[in-house]
């Protein structure tokens, strides 16, 4: 499989009933339905749909209520003014019924923010925190586009193959429609290719944002290079860190964790417990988000030792943390002389 959208391998196994099955599976509430969009056989389902002559495909789309629910998800969320097109009205009505029992209210609301906030028709900015939600939303939108596109291609014969928003739908929706060239309307291969490419480009954008330094790069190959380098460097860092941890006093790395585990529960409220320093060489481990970064960025660890001077809130916050103050500061003392004792000290 290649990024350039080789469609040939898929088209052979597309079958209408598979498509219907795929669409029905989408109707199932919960996160699973979007996960099912991801596996290849279902992704092939939509492209199989595109293989059919347009009329059959549209009929399929009409008949499957689940695709309607999908397609209208964005409609009813946005400030859509529906055209007089009966099909879309029907779908809107169906959605209003389906939406209430749709378990994916979380995703749906997530999409609301994304769709309303993204004016461009090109890409989906994923606001939700979790990757899975993002991907589900992205996948859902892609599937919506596939469905919508088929209908509109039937109606329009424009001469340019470019991404357009459908004039029938609200401008705010990030629909991407591909209008085929004259004489290419029935070339479902290129349409499907374009659909896949859109999906891939959307996700590549996400990756570019994640990997530092990828924004400036033009071209897929170089971006992929950067991504590969980033992943490899992260993997190497993990190896290095595990080596460092292993070479430290052996008792510490194993005891540390029992200590953390035992103290974790008691400090969950985030309250600072006063405790006395009992031994000369306690070991401190911070669990706060601030500490995770500040230990690396600011003072060298040795400066943490003036215990009365420890003011963790003073350490600036460089990360944006939702739960910045919710986490406990965990201070652990352990010594080489008393490996099994825990000293709590703040």
């Amino acid at each position: 499989m290649d990024l350039s959208g080789r469609f040939g391998a898929r088209s052979g196994d597309g079958v209408p009933f598979r498509e219907a099955a795929a669409l029905e599976s989408l109707h199932i509430g919960g996160g699973e339905e979007f996960r099912q969009m991801v596996p290849p056989e279902n992704a092939g389902g939509f492209t199989a749909l595109l293989e059919l002559p347009p009329t059959q495909a549209v009929e399929l789309l009409h008949s499957s209520s689940s695709s309607a629910s999908q397609a209208t998800t964005l409609h009813s969320l946005g400030t859509l003014s529906f055209p007089s097109n009966p099909l879309l009205m029907e779908r809107a009505s169906r959605f209003s019924v389906i939406a209430t029992d749709n378990q994916q209210n979380g995703n749906v609301s997530g999409e609301t923010t994304t769709t309303s906030s993204v004016p461009s028709n090109e890409h989906i900015k994923t606001e939700p925190a979790e990757t899975e939600t993002c991907d589900q939303a992205a996948v859902e939108k892609q599937s919506n586009r596939c469905g919508k596109r088929k209908e509109l291609d039937k109606k329009v014969k424009s001469s340019t193959k470019k991404k357009n928003k459908s004039s029938e739908e609200n401008e705010k929706l990030p629909y991407v429609h591909v209008r085929a060239r004259r004489g290419q309307a029935t070339d479902s291969h290129s349409l499907a290719e374009r659909a896949r490419r859109e999906k891939i480009n959307a996700r590549m954008k996400l990756l570019q944002e994640l990997v530092p330094g990828c924004d400036k790069i033009q071209g897929t190959a170089l971006v992929l290079d950067e991504i590969i380098n980033h992943v490899q460097s992260l993997q190497r860092q993990v190896e290095m860190l595990s080596m460092r941890l292993a070479s430290v006093n052996p008792r510490i790395d194993f005891n540390l964790d029992t200590i953390l585990a035992s103290e974790n529960g008691s400090l969950m409220d985030g309250s600072f417990n006063g405790a006395t320093m009992q031994l000369a060489w306690p070991l401190q481990v911070m669990e706060t988000e601030q500490s995770y970064h500040h230990r690396q960025l600011q003072q060298p660890p040795s400066q943490q030792w003036p215990f009365d001077g420890l003011n963790q809130p003073v350490w600036g916050r460089e990360e944006n943390q939702d739960h910045g103050n919710d986490h406990n500061n965990l201070m652990v003392g352990s010594t080489s002389l008393h490996p099994n004792q825990v000293k709590m000290e703040l």
């Binding site: 991801v38 991907d135 896949r196 992929l224 860190l241 292993a246 540390l256 306690p282 660890p301 910045g324």
Partner: protein, 195 residues
């Protein structure tokens, strides 16, 4: 997105759980064995955060299961462990060279314009890179879909960053502790020798 604090906490707890399994074997004094133990438990902890929803996490768990089955079983509770370990791996994709050669045979008759050639070269380059990405991401060979591959990469990168952040802070703390310990030990020794 960046690693959230809840993800870090979860990872830390799971990693601790894994390390505790190794605690009875604390007399594996060799550094490399300890390193391996640490890394394996960290990997399984990272993969178990996803609870089997992503392809890379399943592949990673299966990979570590080949090295240390016991650890994996202990760390993942109950039924999940069985299904994840015993599940057969998906069929590996067909060998790329064979596919490429057959394609070239089919393509031989096509006429090429200059633009087409450039585009074809660009496509080849991209294909190479995606293959490289598959090699890096665990379980990449089983992802036949490009879209899936990129999604998995996204998730994998975020999880790796969580892992790195947590491990780095633990290591810093541990090293600080040992530095301090060494310092005080030295001082003590000095004091004893003096007195």
């Amino acid at each position: 997105m960046q690693p959230t604090s809840s993800m870090k906490e979860e990872f830390l707890k799971k990693w601790q759980m894994g390390l505790q399994i190794y605690r009875p074997l604390i007399d594996n004094t060799s550094v490399s064995e300890r390193r391996k133990a640490i890394k394996l438990s960290a990997d399984v902890a990272m993969a178990s955060l996803r609870k089997g929803t992503t392809c890379w996490s399943r592949a990673l768990i299966q990979k570590t299961a080949t090295e240390d089955n016991f650890l994996v079983r202990q760390m993942l509770s109950g039924i999940k462990a069985e299904t994840l370990i015993n599940k057969k791996l998906p069929k590996v994709m067909c060998h790329r060279k064979i596919v490429r050669r057959s394609k070239m045979i089919l393509r031989r008759r096509q006429s090429r314009s200059a633009i087409e050639e450039v585009a074809a070269k660009a496509r080849k380059l991209v294909k190479k890179k995606t293959q490289g990405l598959r090699n890096v991401v665990p379980g990449g060979e089983f992802m036949s879909n490009d879209v899936l591959l990129i999604q998995e990469t996204l998730d994998y990168i975020v999880s790796l960053q969580t892992q790195v952040n947590v491990m780095r802070s633990i290591v810093d703390a541990a090293e600080a502790g040992s530095e301090r310990t060494a310092y005080y030990l030295g001082k003590l020794k000095f004091a004893i020798e003096d007195g």
